[in-house]
């Protein structure tokens, strides 16, 4: 643990800004904010609960004036260490800024506070007949602000894109405390696309305090299928065949046997325990040809070796299939005390090859690696199981994770599809970017945060320095 970055003067300022009941300055409370869903921890020197843009701005200004680092936090579900206060300082907890500010159907927009859970927004829009499309599996516990920071994806990306395709405006507190609005309800704002630059910047360019999102009508109709395979290759070949047939399903998710077994123990959705993989497919849109699309897909599944294809008859069956998929990470978490989630992405055609590699890595390092992945867009999530109390095993896990990422890059992909670089993949950035590429990204960092106080120590490999001009 480093020196306490929060002087008593700063602590007093913070108490004045948000009220002393909203500041944790010591004790066990700080430990709760030392970690997220990644595998490291670092105690902050203070935690501040904020309730408005104005409070965020004043807190950030107070930190900036004293050169104290800060990091915004929502649900703390971040998988790459994005919310860990790597250099100490202040955690700015946004979770209480959770209001739905406005639903503007005529303009197909909604305005939300960043501390709102993704699923809450969905639940608020559904009775009105609308939806916000990005719905990561963590949506019950992950906030919209976090979604913005990571450019979160989820199971509907193949058809509908990721968070950045649905965020049209932001209110941002810049790292010196200044408040700016980027974009808004009107499209094509002049100047540079700072909204697009900010989404996915992992809290390193400032803190968003309001999000303007695009909303769309709920689909008229949905069909959900589950195809069961004895060979993983058959599953991935089906995915390629569906794409080759010119179809764009809303969802194409795969889970392997290890995940299925864990899910059945935890959620019990009726997945067969003896198959190699299942493929969860969903098509949505106008009802006129949806049944035909579903049948065509079922045909392709069978043609490529599916031993069984189930089509959900009603909303209850559909919900059961999804519960299995969404509960996958939670179910796997019951097997061993810890896991490392890999987040590599490969071109779809490279899926069979990368799955073989994951199998080889599993054997080489003697580790169990259940696999759940967004087969439509090539984003895999091998979950490397281990016990955190076993340091030697953890070391093997980190090596295995890096090797999987190396394979992803070699096969034409990248190191992070949706969970962000954070701390976890900082060194892996050099697998995809040259020093020149990294220097260019650091220009962006410097333009927003010349003092490197906004979530410092993330994304860029440790040896690069923000404050040197390149």
């Amino acid at each position: 643990m480093g020196p306490n970055m929060v002087s008593s003067r700063l602590a007093q300022d913070l108490r004045e800004i948000v009220g002393k009941e909203n500041v944790i300055g010591g004790g066990v409370g700080l430990q709760l904010y030392a970690y997220d869903a990644y595998l490291e921890e670092r105690r902050p020197d203070a935690v501040v609960f904020v309730h408005s843009t104005d409070e965020v701005s004043r807190v950030v200004r107070a930190c900036s004036q004293r050169g104290v680092p800060f990091v915004a936090r929502g649900g703390g579900t971040n998988l790459s260490g994005g919310t860990i206060p790597a250099r100490g300082g202040v955690v700015i907890e946004m979770i209480r800024m959770n209001k739905l500010l406005e639903v503007d159907r005529a303009n197909l927009r909604a305005r939300v506070e960043p501390g709102m859970f993704n699923l809450e927004l969905g639940n608020a829009l559904a009775p009105l007949g609308y939806q916000y499309l990005p719905d990561p599996a963590s949506q019950k516990a992950a906030t919209l602000g976090g979604n913005v920071a990571e450019n979160s994806g989820g199971p509907h990306c193949f058809k509908y894109g990721t968070t950045t395709n649905h965020v049209v405006g932001l209110t941002v507190v810049l790292p010196d405390g200044e408040v700016v609005r980027l974009g808004g309800k009107a499209p094509d704002a002049s100047g540079y696309d700072l909204t697009g630059t900010f989404v996915g910047s992992e809290g390193t360019l400032g803190i968003c305090t309001e999000v303007v999102v695009r909303i769309v009508r709920l689909p008229e109709s949905v069909r959900t299928l589950l195809a069961v395979y004895d060979r993983i290759e058959d599953g991935s070949e089906t995915v390629s065949a569906i794409v080759a047939a010119g179809m764009v399903p809303a969802t194409l998710e795969m889970m392997d046997q290890l995940v299925i077994r864990a899910v059945e123990q935890s959620v019990k959705c009726g997945f067969p325990l003896d198959c190699a993989t299942v493929l969860l497919i969903e098509v949505d849109g106008l009802r006129d040809d949806l049944e035909e699309q579903a049948q065509a897909i079922a045909e392709l599944c069978r043609k490529h070796g599916a031993r069984e294809v189930r089509v959900a008859k009603d909303e209850a069956e559909r919900a059961a299939l999804w519960a299995g998929r969404r509960g996958a990470f939670g179910a796997v978490a019951r097997i061993t005390p810890s896991y490392l989630v890999c987040d590599g992405t490969v071109p779809r055609t490279a899926l069979p090859a990368v799955l073989r590699k994951v199998g080889e890595v599993s054997q080489k390092y003697d580790l169990m690696i259940p696999n759940v992945f967004h087969a439509g867009d090539g984003n895999l999530h091998p979950l490397i199981l281990f016990d955190w109390r076993n340091a030697e095993q953890k070391a093997r896990v980190m090596k295995a994770g890096m090797e999987i990422l190396e394979w992803c890059v070699q096969l034409g992909g990248t190191i992070s599809g949706e969970h962000g670089v954070g701390i976890e993949k900082m060194d892996a950035m050099r697998l995809v970017f040259s020093e020149g590429d990294l220097r260019a990204q650091l220009k962006v960092k410097r333009a927003f945060d010349p003092k490197d106080l906004s979530n410092p120590g993330k994304i860029f490999p440790a040896a690069t320095r923000v404050t040197c001009a390149a």
Binding site: N107, L182, D188, G196, E292, G412, D437
Partner: protein
């Protein structure tokens, strides 16, 4: 390399560059930029030259860097639905290559065929199908960009899910070459729909068009595009299709998909338009639909008069305000030398092209300023995409700068400290 009079075709807002160079490869672009940097020469990137009227007049124009020789299709992976192309590839040529494999890139800006991929990205050009598919930023997976140092960097990659580092694709798209010169782009693609049909309704009054647009947007229908047309544009389509009676405002929806969904949408759209007072144009075949679409896109080109007197603007406002601004834009046309107004009605974009009558230039300029104020009053903006230089000197092309201008200036300063990329044309002269 072209000098003197030969560089004439590369002029920008009546300024002729001292030199025009046409590098033959991405490496040559690096060398050109490096050399210009050392000489302190201001560079203006140039693709097909179809959007050189965008923005304010250049503050300096030493060298035009024309990328039309960067014409390679680097890699087309139909199985992975992506394509990598050099910046000088013409969009029309790219579309033809993709169509052979029944795939497409949903970028459909209007304008001459010689528009290049690099230029379209740099200007964030878009067209009617943005309603359904989004704009260039939603399709770019990766870029290669030459920076002021002459160094070429990579942004993004080739995969759809990519959050490795900052989303630099978004930074460069729409930046008009002021942060770097795009030399290559990777796009995500879509399969071509089985069918496409245009449904066109003719309305006596704009208020009917507005009601129809609002109803379509609230409904379950999912048109690829929804274009509002003034009487000139609708008239042009009517003559192209040989429809004598159709005169009034037009609302054209493009519906796409399998036969069943297209037939249903044609029925529903048609009846919805009728309920709002439209006369429906008889159902159009695939070919007729394509002709109608093409004509709508070219309507402003049909304005008679020399191109030297044309003023084209793009207005961007929240969706529900589109037709208010459409109406205001129309009024301005009536009080000047004539105009054509169309709108991407479900996207908040109005496009107006006017013939400038120089005798009433001040009045027209004031009218444009008022139109801009209306747009800015609803948090939108008005951008000048083409205008005679004399008008540009009295009216800024971009309008009120956004709140984060200071950050934008710092970005410009980081990437182009010498101010050599396209100086003066972009927002706030960056």
């Amino acid at each position: 390399m072209l000098e003197g009079a030969a560089a004439g075709p590369f002029s920008v807002d009546d300024m002729v560059p001292r030199l025009a160079v046409r590098p033959g490869s991405q490496e040559e672009v690096e060398a050109v930029v490096l050399a210009c940097g050392k000489a302190g020469a201001a560079m203006v990137p140039f693709g097909g030259g179809t959007a050189m009227g965008l923005g304010n007049p250049p503050r300096r124009l030493d060298v035009v860097v024309c990328l039309d020789r960067l014409g390679r299709i680097v890699d087309f992976s139909e199985a992975n639905l992506n394509v990598s192309v050099e910046a000088g590839v013409r969009l029309a040529d790219l579309k033809a290559v993709l169509a052979e494999k029944r795939e497409f890139l949903p970028l459909d800006p209007r304008g001459p065929d010689r528009a290049t991929v690099g230029g379209l990205l740099a200007t964030n050009a878009s067209g009617p199908s943005r309603l359904s598919y989004g704009t260039a930023r939603d399709f770019v997976l990766g870029l290669r960009v030459v920076l002021a140092s002459g160094e070429r960097i990579r942004c993004g990659g080739k995969v759809v899910k990519n959050v490795s580092g900052y989303d630099m694709n978004k930074l460069f798209t729409g930046s008009m070459g002021t942060l770097g010169i795009i030399t290559e782009a990777t796009f995500k693609l879509l399969p071509v729909p089985a069918m496409r049909v245009a449904v066109i309704g003719v309305f006596r009054e704009l208020v009917g068009v507005g009601a129809a647009v609002a109803t379509v947007l609230e409904s379950q229908l999912l048109p690829e595009a929804l274009e509002a047309l003034d009487t000139h544009a609708m008239g042009a389509i009517a003559s192209a299709l040989g429809l004598a009676q159709a005169s009034g405002y037009g609302l054209a929806a493009m519906v796409a998909g399998n036969r069943e969904t297209v037939e249903r949408q044609v029925r529903d759209c048609g009846s919805l338009f009728s309920q709002c007072g439209a006369t429906i144009v008889p159902p159009l075949s695939d070919l007729q639909s394509a002709v109608a679409w093409q004509t709508a896109g070219d309507a402003s080109a049909r304005l008679s008069g020399t191109s030297g007197d044309r003023v084209s603007v793009k207005i961007a406002v929240p969706i529900a305000r589109t037709l208010d601004l459409f109406e205001s834009a129309e009024l301005l046309g009536r009080s000047s030398g004539g105009g054509v107004v169309t709108a991407h009605a479900g996207s908040g974009i109005v496009r107006a092209t006017y013939l400038l009558d120089r005798g009433v230039m001040r009045r027209f300029r004031n009218g444009l300023e008022s139109l801009r104020e209306r747009a800015e009053g609803v948090e939108g903006c008005l951008t000048v995409e083409e205008a005679p230089v004399v008008l540009k000197h009295s009216l800024d092309a971009w309008g009120k700068p956004p709140e984060a201008l200071a950050v934008m200036r710092r970005l410009k300063n980081e990437f182009d400290p010498g101010g050599l990329f396209n100086p003066g044309r972009f927002l706030a002269g960056m």
